[in-house]
Each structure stands twice: as C-alpha cells, then as structure tokens.
Symmetry: C2
Subunit: 409 residues, 2 copies
C-alpha cells in the first residue's frame, strides 16, 4: 500500500481552490444539512471534521442536545468510524463540493468529499476492483465503457486491464477532484493516462442524453454524495437514460449500499432496476473497512438482450492476458471473489432474493413472481450512490424506510 509523504508541493499546506460558489442543492430539513468544512486555518490539523487529531465523518448540526449528537451522521445514525490524522495534505472547495485529503496513521492517504470518506490507500482496491470487474467480467469482450463520476481515476485504472476495451468515456462533473487526485493519489489517477480514455468534464445526464442509443457495453456509476453535484443522478429517469445508452445485453454496475444498514432501500433498487433494465438484476457485496458497517453493495443490471449470468463470469480476469499484473497487481478481485460476492447471509437472502431477477436457465424471472407492489413513494427515486443516502430524508416515507431497514436486519 502506498503511504508516507505526499508527493508534491502542496504537502502540508492548506489551500482553497475553486470559485467557492455553493452548489444549487434543494432545501434540506435542518437534520440533513451537511457539516461544512471550516475555512482553512493556520494549524495543519485544523478542520471542522478533525477533532483532537481525529477525523470523524460528518457531524450533524440538528440536535438541540448538541453534545449528545456530536458525531451523529443522519445517513448512518448511531455509529461513526474515526481515523487518526497524521497530516492534512489538502483542503479546498470546488463549485460543487468540499475536498479534504489527509495522511492517516494506518490507512494511508484519505480522500473526503463533503465530509464523507470516498477512499483510502489501504482499502480502495476492494471498491475500485469490484465495481469494475463485476460488470466487465460478466460479458464477453467489452469494447465501449462509460464511467460516471470516478474522478479519482481508480475505476479507469481497473478498466484498463481489459484488453478488449477500445474506448473508455468518463464523465466527471468536478475538475477539482481530478486535479487533486492527480497530485495526491497517483496510484489511482494513473487511470487517466491510458490512451483509450476520453475525459468529459460536465453533467452526466446531459452527456447521456447526447449519446446515441445503444452505445455502451458497460456503464459504471461511481459518483459521490447525491446532495450537490450528483443530485440528478439518483432519480429513476436517470436510470432510464442509462438503460437507453446501453446496447442490448449491456450492463450497469452501481454502488448499492450495505446489506446490514439499508435492506429495504436495496429491495427498492432491485425492483426499480428489474422494471427498467428488463434483464438480470442482482445484488453483490464486498468487505471495505472504511465504509459504514465495513461492507458495500453493488447493483448489477443487464439490459434485455443476450442473457447475462452475473453469478458465473463468462470473461474471467485470470484468462485476460496480463490483466492481473498490468500496472500494479490486482489486490482484491478474483473469479472466486466474484462468485462469492453474490452469496448473501440468510437475513439478506430472505429479504432480497425475491426482488432480484434472472434471465438464465430455469431461474428465468422466477424471482419476480414474489415481488411486492411498491407504494408510489418508493418508486419516485432511489439513492444508490456511494455513501449517499441523505436525500432520503426529503421524502415523506423515507424515515420509515430507513428505520425499517436498520431494525429489520
């Protein structure tokens, strides 16, 4: 794992970059107002999320009894994970979000957007490799791939292992994320150096609308918090736009939250994606220590067309020449892990299996027979973004969803 000193002149300084213009977020209830990073201060360890030398994920401002709710993050109520800060390497603000990078004591460098950990040197391999190879190893010879978000470059680095890929479009809205990751996370931003990559800095919805129908073999949605720059990306129409841009039999992989924390939300995602994509739709998961509950989920969706069996990868990474060792070695993913990622604990199996759908063999669509009818408020939107569920609190039925999801597991 990478670690130690940062690699350029920004090390140890506090900087502000970007216009400082606030993003046009919808009004939020007081409980959901994100803690904003403080203005840079002279002491390197000073930051609103750093208390006594520890970084702690976003603190809520909602409580009257503020002492008791000091660490209360409305997205994952009742728990928090803290990392020891060795040195703050960068802090700044783009038109879209606040960016913090620090060197931690034991997880290497850490990227934080709007107060929420996006990746650490130590465990980024699990997220980046799984979100990339789960879809790309499930289809034969992927050629055209689109990444939405992913400005750190890690997903690009992983896509580049696939020799069959001819073009990699990436649509990231925030130039600052790209720039600071090039400065501080060279092991991730190396992904931008592949000649197949075409970078589009801008709005993903706009980009997709301008893409010809049926363009992509695979689309990977790796975006940040849905409040702010990614807000449009969490609504059902966006997924219809994704489905339109995929070729028949093409696949989507989208972050899908933890089975320990949000089972009901995952049910909703599965239902809506079955309706939208009309091919196989499955939930997979991986162990990622710095994400809430230490686990993160992925939603795998195939557009109707040639059937896709996500559970038995047709394009195993070990058989792709040089894929395991191109650039740096693969650290997390392998074909056995691919299969194991779809194996669920009994509680999750009970709650999710009826909402998945298959288009392979005797399982063809049988799971859908048991699907419940969702009340209308469930179908308005869903929020499958990395660590991004806060918008749920805007919905009148959302509080119930979240609470049930937590208690039911």
């Amino acid at each position: 794992m990478e670690g130690g000193d940062a690699r350029n002149g920004l090390t140890g300084t506090s900087q502000t970059t970007g216009s400082g213009v606030e993003s046009p977020a919808k009004p939020l209830p007081p409980c959901c107002v994100k803690a904003r990073a403080a203005a840079p201060e002279s002491e390197a360890k000073c930051h609103a999320t750093v208390v006594s030398g520890w970084f702690t994920e976003t603190r809520s401002r909602c409580g009257k009894a503020s002492k008791l709710q000091y660490y209360n993050n409305p997205m994952w109520p009742g728990e928090t994970h803290s990392l020891k800060v060795d040195k703050i390497l960068y802090q700044g603000k783009s038109p879209y979000q606040e960016v913090l990078i620090f060197e931690s004591l034991t997880y290497g460098k850490v990227l934080v957007l709007d107060g929420i950990v996006q990746l650490t040197d130590k465990d980024e391999c699990a997220y980046q490799e799984m979100i990339t190879h789960l879809p790309l190893c499930s289809i034969p010879s992927p050629k055209k791939v689109l990444v939405i978000g992913g400005g750190d470059g890690g997903v690009l680095r992983e896509i580049a292992r696939h020799g069959s890929v001819e073009s990699i479009d990436i649509c990231e809205i925030d130039q600052l994320v790209i720039d600071v990751c090039k400065d501080f996370f060279p092991d991730l931003s190396v992904g931008f150096e592949d000649p197949r990559v075409r970078l589009h800095v801008g709005d993903a919805v706009e980009f997709l609308r301008n893409s010809p129908e049926g363009t992509y073999d695979a689309i990977i949605v790796d975006s940040s918090d849905p409040i702010g720059p990614a807000q449009e990306l969490v609504e059902k129409p966006f997924f219809e736009t994704i489905a339109r841009a995929l070729r028949p039999g093409g696949v989507l992989c989208n972050q899908a939250e933890s089975m320990w924390l949000h089972t009901h939300l995952i049910q909703d995602m599965l239902s809506i994606c079955c309706e939208t994509f009309k091919g196989s739709v499955h939930y997979a998961w991986a162990s990622v220590p710095t994400y809430p509950s230490g686990a993160i989920g992925f939603l795998l969706c195939a557009k109707e067309g040639r059937p896709v069996n996500f559970l038995a990868p047709i394009n195993p990474i070990e058989k792709i020449e040089g894929a395991m060792t191109a650039g740096r070695d693969i650290r997390f993913y392998n074909t056995e892990m691919h299969r194991a990622a779809f194996v669920l604990p009994t509680f999750a199996k009970r709650e999710l299996e009826a909402y998945s759908c298959s288009t392979i063999g005797h399982n063809k669509r049988k799971n859908q027979q048991n699907q419940r009818r969702l009340p209308s408020c469930h179908t308005v939107k869903f929020l499958p973004l990395r660590r991004g569920l806060r918008d749920l609190f805007n919905s009148p039925c959302a509080g119930h969803q979240v609470l049930t999801g937590i208690v039911a597991t």
Copy 2:
C-alpha cells in the same frame, strides 16, 4: 433483531458485582494498559468509555500528547468505531474483568468486556453462527462438543440446532458474564437451557487437562481479551492441549482476527496450527460490522485422522431437521456462506494460501511445501482471541509483526 427496553429490574441502574480483585495480568508497557471502567456514578450515561453520549472502544493512556491519542487503541491503532449510547443498562466488575452493557441507538444492546465490544444484538448472529456451524457442518454427526469461553450462551444456542449432538460442555471462567447475559441477552443465554449443556465455571486449561484424551468431536474457542482471564489460552501449549482433547479427525474453530489488519499474525497461526493439529487448517472470514475493519476471521483446524474438507461441508445445515428454525431462525449462516467464507481477496490469498494445509485429494499438504520457517519468537505464542491482540506488545518482535501486518495489506 432484538432491541427496545431491557427486560428486568436492573434496567437503568448502575451496579457493581464481583469481588473487585484485579486479575493477575503480566506487567504491560504503558501503551498497553487498558482503560478501566470508572466506578459507577449517579448519572446513567457516565462511564469511562462513554464521552458525550457515545461509547468508544478503549482509550489508551499512553500518550504525553493525550488529546491527540484520546481514542488510540493500541490493538487497532489509528481507527475507532463509536456507537451512540441510548442508556447504560449495567456496569460491574468480576474478579476477572469489567462488564458494561448498554442500549445503543441502532445496534440494540451491546456487551463490552474490559472496554472492548464483544457483541451487539444487531450483528451477533454473524459471529455466533459462523464460529459454530463452520466446524460442526464440516464433520458428520458431531456428538460431543466443548465450548471454551462463550459465557453469553450464543454459541450454545447455535450448537443446539444440531440434533446429532449428545453433550455440550462449556467451560467459562467468569460467572458474572453468564449471569448478566441471562439478565440482558435472553436471546443468547437461551443456549444454557438446552438439557445437553453441562456448565463448568473455571479455568479452561485445567478443565482440558482433566479431560480424557480424544474426547471431543469439536471444540469451539470463543473467549475474550487475552489479558486477564483468557491469558493462558493464547499460548502454544494450550493448543496442544486442545489437540489432545480432540478425537482423531475432530475439529477446532477459533477466532482468528481480520485479514485486513493482521495478515502476518494469521500466517503465524496457520503455521503453528498445521504443526499442532496435522490435519487440514484453513482461514475463513465473515462480515461483522462492529468488529474492527468490519470483518472477523476464523481458524479451522482438523486433527489428523479421517480427513476433513472444511471447504465443502459434509453436514449441511439445511439438511438437519429443524436446524434453520429451531428457537429463532438462522440469520446469517447457510451452506453457500460456509463455502464463500473460505474465498479470500487476492491480497489475502497471496499471503495466506501457502500457510494453509489440506488433507483432501490432490491438494494434500501441497500448500505446506512453500511454508517459510518462522523465527523462534514467532512460535512462542499466538493470539487468536476475539479482539484480543494486546499481549503481542509484550513480545520483542511483536511490534514489527503488527506493523508489517497492517502496512502489507
């Protein structure tokens, strides 16, 4: 999941039970002195590990710059997990350890021994079910089973699902743990009500020495922190005593730390257990949100005799009459999860596979060909206990082991 109000008259009160005599722990360097729970105070939320209404795992006392190391736990340096405390239900002290039970906001009731989370209502299913059924489903018709530690009763509850079992011995040193779990964790302590259970309150080493050779089909070691009551249980001679008490082809399951945090330690455990048990020895893991890194490992060891293939359970739980639903339903374990538990991420596979050993088919012992020779300090002791690595810091080479384990992943 269980939650809500506690179920007896102790609710909301602070009590002290036990003699208050300190356990005869070896002298520790200042960095490793455990934070001790404060004497009971009048305010229900007052406890040394509870700050502003949050429980945080043991705080170190070592730092001169105490503010910066406020949450620094020497066992898992650089990170901590905090839970919101709703109400402290119990605090007390036995001759062996401090006991704290609180109602958390989102994980139900939480049992803490000497400042370290042992279990929560929400995720205890993962640990209890996996540590029990991984060994018991790997052998045909287990009859005599021994549990070491496990005073909460959860492992007993799981063993009771196996109709073939004729006797269940449990050797737990701390009567207070048994008593308070009966009061506050009835869903776990129900395990003691099975008529096959024989409780022995006392020292496990003594108990094993008095057991006839070759008595048990399976032994499950579910004990707490190795400093204090469990100290004797972490040394190599103890595992030789375990091997002696197992029948040929009998199996041990022992907690074995997280692959994310302590790879080198796991290598040592695998090596020593291959030498000691002379049958198959493998590492498995499961997702447990409230354990460090959100994952916990298990060491599965078979004594030489009839070969055991841990990777393909011969005694699947789904085929044992009533096992999935006896008492409360199984929540986590199933045969697919059993198999998936042995599938490792690439980094862990690279580092651990050469240290495992198999006695089945063409893999027979081939893994051992590549085993490194350990320096002598590695073979003195190893520390496979739940959340219990602090004793490592007593060893002159331990600091290196731990640091390497963390950085190498």
